[in-house]
C-alpha cells in the first residue's frame, strides 16, 4: 500500500530550511524587541509608582522597588481631590458619550439612508470639518461659552456632543449604515414605519457593533481630553482627571514623581482594561474608516 505524501508548496516554510528558520527567528526577535520598547515606559511607570521618594532618585535606576511602597497609591489619591476629579470625569464622559452616540447615529442615518435636498453638499462640508483644526474655533467657542456663563461648568465639554460636533463619528456610522441593504427600509416603510421608527427600531438594533465602536472610541477620547478642560475649567474642584494630573508637576517641593506615576497608573487603568476587553471594537473602528480616531 502506498502512503500519500502531502504536497509541499514551495512557499511553505520547511523546518529544515535553515535560511527560512533564521528569517523567522529574525522576525520574532524584531517583533519582540518592538514589544519590549512599547512596554518599557509602562513598566517603568509602575516601578516608579511603587518606590519611596528616596529610591526614586537613585542612580543608576533600579527596576524592582525595595521596599515596595504601596502607600504611594492612597497618598497620591488623597493629596489631591482625586475622587472628585474621577466623578467629574465619569459624568463628563458618560453624558457626552451618550450625546455623541445619539446625535451622530441619527445624523448618520439621515446621510446614509434618506434623500433630502442638499445632502451631498452637507456631507462634503461634514468631511471638511473632520480636517478642520479645533484650534481655529477654540477662541470664539471660549468666548461664546464665557458669554453664556458656562466657564467652570461641564456644559462646554458636554453640550457640543449632542450636536454631532465630532464629525468623525458621523462618518464612521454612516459608512456602517451604508452596508445595511436599503430594501429593509422599504419593507419597514410598507409596514407603515416612518423614518424615525426605521432608525430607532431597525437600524440601531442592527448596528450595535458600530455603536459600540463609536461609544468606546469617543469615551476614550473624552477621558484623555486635555485642551478643552484646560480652557474651560479653572477651579480645581471642577477638574477632570486628565487635567488634574498636571497638578502633580512642580508643586512647591518639586515634582513628586512617585505620586505622579501612581496617579498616572490609576488614570490609565480603565483605558487599558477597556481596551483589552473590547479590543475587537477598537480594531473594527480602524477597519471601518481606515483612520485611527
Amino acid at each position: 500500500m502506498q502512503t500519500v505524501q502531502p504536497i509541499r508548496l514551495p512557499s511553505t516554510p520547511a523546518v529544515r530550511d535553515w535560511s527560512a528558520l533564521l528569517k523567522r527567528a529574525g522576525i520574532y526577535a524584531a517583533l519582540l524587541l518592538g514589544a519590549v520598547v512599547v512596554v518599557i515606559p509602562f513598566a517603568w511607570t509602575v516601578s516608579t509608582s511603587l518606590k519611596t521618594p528616596q529610591e526614586v532618585f537613585t542612580f543608576p535606576p533600579r527596576w524592582i522597588p525595595d521596599p515596595v511602597a504601596w502607600s504611594n497609591y492612597p497618598e497620591a489619591l488623597s493629596s489631591q481631590p482625586f475622587g472628585r476629579w474621577l466623578l467629574n470625569t465619569l459624568l463628563v464622559v458618560l453624558v457626552s458619550t451618550f450625546g455623541t452616540v445619539a446625535s451622530c447615529s441619527m445624523v448618520a442615518f439621515a446621510f446614509a439612508r434618506l434623500r433630502w435636498p442638499g445632502r451631498d453638499i452637507c456631507f462634503l462640508i461634514l468631511l471638511a470639518t473632520m480636517m478642520l483644526p479645533d484650534q481655529v474655533t477654540i477662541i470664539p467657542t471660549f468666548i461664546l461659552f464665557r458669554e453664556l456663563g458656562w466657564v467652570n461648568t461641564f456644559l462646554p465639554l458636554i453640550v457640543p456632543a449632542f450636536f454631532a460636533r465630532n464629525a468623525f463619528y458621523v462618518f464612521l456610522l454612516r459608512q456602517f449604515f451604508m452596508t445595511i441593504p436599503l430594501d429593509l427600509d422599504d419593507a419597514a416603510r410598507l409596514d407603515g414605519a416612518g423614518s424615525f421608527q426605521v432608525y430607532l427600531y431597525m437600524i440601531l438594533p442592527m448596528s450595535k457593533p458600530a455603536l459600540a465602536v463609536t461609544a468606546l472610541m469617543f469615551a476614550q477620547f473624552k477621558w484623555n481630553e486635555f485642551l478643552a478642560p484646560l480652557i474651560f475649567l479653572n477651579n480645581s474642584e471642577m477638574y477632570t482627571v486628565a487635567l488634574g494630573l498636571r497638578s502633580f508637576v512642580g508643586q512647591e517641593y518639586g515634582t513628586d514623581w512617585h505620586l505622579m506615576m501612581a496617579a498616572n497608573i490609576v488614570f490609565m487603568i480603565p483605558l487599558i482594561l477597556i481596551f483589552f476587553f473590547a479590543q475587537k471594537y477598537f480594531i473594527q473602528g480602524v477597519v471601518i474608516t481606515g483612520v485611527k480616531g
Binding site: G34, S103, P140, M178, F226, V287
Partner: protein, 318 residues
C-alpha cells in the same frame, strides 16, 4: 459615477436613478432634514459661526475686557514680518510633522509587514503595539517627562550602564525636538493596524507571479507591497501630518515650550497668546495662519498625489 476618475475618497454611494433623485419624497426629505438638523445646528454654532467670528477677531486687538479694536491686517503683518517667535514655532512644528510622521509611517509599515507573516501570538503583538494610542497625550507626556530626565531618567540610566553620558533630552535646545520625534515613534503601532488590513487585501496572485519570475523578498516589497499600499500610506500620512501640526499636550506638559522656545509648538504659542497674554486677536490670527497652512498643505499633497499614489482601476481606495 462609474466613468468618473478614481478618487482618493470614494465616499458617495452610487446615486439612485436620476428621475427619483430629483424629486425627493416630501416626507423623506423632511425627515432627513430634521434628523440631520443636530449636525447642522452644531455646524453653524460650533464651527461656521466661530470661524467667521475668529476671522473678525484676527483683525482686531482685543484683551477680552475692553471692546475689540479694529486694526485690519496688522496682526498678520506682524506675525509674518516681525515675530521671530512665530517663525520659531512654525519651524519647530513643521520639522516635527515632516520628520516624525514619515518615520512613524515607515515604522508602522515595517511592523505590519512583520506581523503579516504567519506568526504566532499575532493578536498579542497587535494589542501591545496598539496600546500607546489607547492612552492619551497627557499620560504619555507624564511618562516620558520622567523617562527623558537628565539625572534620574531611565534612558540616561541605561546609557550610563553602557558608559555613555546621555544628553539633557528635554533641557537641551538641540536635543528637545529629537526627544519629541523619538517619543512620537513610540506610538507608530497604531497605524500598523491599518496597514495590516491593507496588506491582507493585496491579491496573492501578484506575489505568486513575482515568485514565478524569481523576485526576491525586497523586490517584492518595493515593487508590489509599497505600490499597492500607496493610497493607504498617503491618506494616513496626510492625516498624521495634520494631526502633528496641532500637537499641544506633549510640549505643554513636558517642556512648556522650552528651553529657549526650542519646543514651542504652534498651538502652544497660540494658547499662550490667547489664555496667558489675553491677546485674543493675535491668537486668532495665529489660528487662521495654522488653518491656512494645513489647508494649503492638504491641497498640495492631494494634487501631487497622482504622481506617486497608485490606484487600481476600480474605485475602492479609501
Amino acid at each position: 459615477m462609474q466613468s468618473s476618475p478614481p478618487r482618493a475618497f470614494s465616499l458617495f454611494h452610487r446615486s439612485r436613478p436620476r428621475q427619483r433623485a430629483q424629486h425627493y419624497r416630501r416626507s423623506e426629505a423632511i425627515a432627513g432634514l430634521l434628523m440631520a438638523s443636530p449636525w447642522m445646528i452644531g455646524f453653524l454654532v460650533f464651527v461656521a459661526g466661530p470661524m467667521i467670528y475668529s476671522l473678525y477677531l484676527s483683525m482686531t486687538r482685543w484683551d477680552l475686557f475692553t471692546p475689540p479694536q479694529w486694526i485690519g491686517l496688522d496682526n498678520f503683518t506682524t506675525l509674518l514680518t516681525d515675530d521671530p517667535t512665530f517663525f520659531q514655532a512654525l519651524k519647530i512644528t513643521t520639522i516635527y510633522a515632516f520628520i516624525g510622521v514619515p518615520l512613524q509611517v515607515g515604522l508602522g509599515l515595517v511592523l505590519a509587514t512583520l506581523l503579516n507573516q504567519k506568526i504566532r501570538f499575532l493578536s498579542l503583538f497587535r494589542s501591545i503595539y496598539y496600546l500607546p494610542s489607547v492612552i492619551g497625550g497627557i499620560s504619555v507626556a507624564i511618562m516620558f517627562r520622567w523617562i527623558f530626565g537628565t539625572q534620574f531618567g531611565l534612558i540616561n540610566g541605561m546609557l550610563s550602564g553602557l558608559g555613555i553620558q546621555g544628553p539633557s533630552w528635554l533641557g537641551d535646545p538641540s536635543w528637545v525636538m529629537v526627544s519629541f520625534v523619538l517619543m512620537s515613534l513610540w506610538g507608530s503601532g497604531a497605524s500598523m493596524l491599518i496597514y495590516l488590513g491593507a496588506l491582507q487585501s493585496i491579491p496573492t496572485e501578484l506575489y505568486e507571479a513575482a515568485d514565478v519570475d524569481g523576485a526576491g523578498t525586497l523586490a517584492k516589497f518595493f515593487r508590489i507591497t509599497i505600490p499597492m499600499m500607496t493610497p493607504v500610506i498617503f491618506f494616513n500620512m496626510v492625516m498624521g501630518i495634520i494631526h502633528a501640526l496641532q500637537e499641544f499636550v506633549l510640549p505643554f506638559v513636558m517642556t512648556s515650550g522650552g528651553p529657549a522656545d526650542a519646543s514651542l509648538f504652534l498651538v502652544l504659542y497660540l494658547y499662550r497668546n490667547a489664555f496667558q497674554f489675553f491677546q485674543m486677536g493675535y491668537a486668532s490670527a495665529i489660528a487662521w495662519l495654522l488653518f491656512i497652512y494645513i489647508l494649503l498643505l492638504t491641497l498640495l499633497v492631494v494634487r501631487s498625489s497622482s504622481a506617486w499614489v497608485y490606484y487600481e482601476g476600480s474605485v475602492r481606495g479609501r
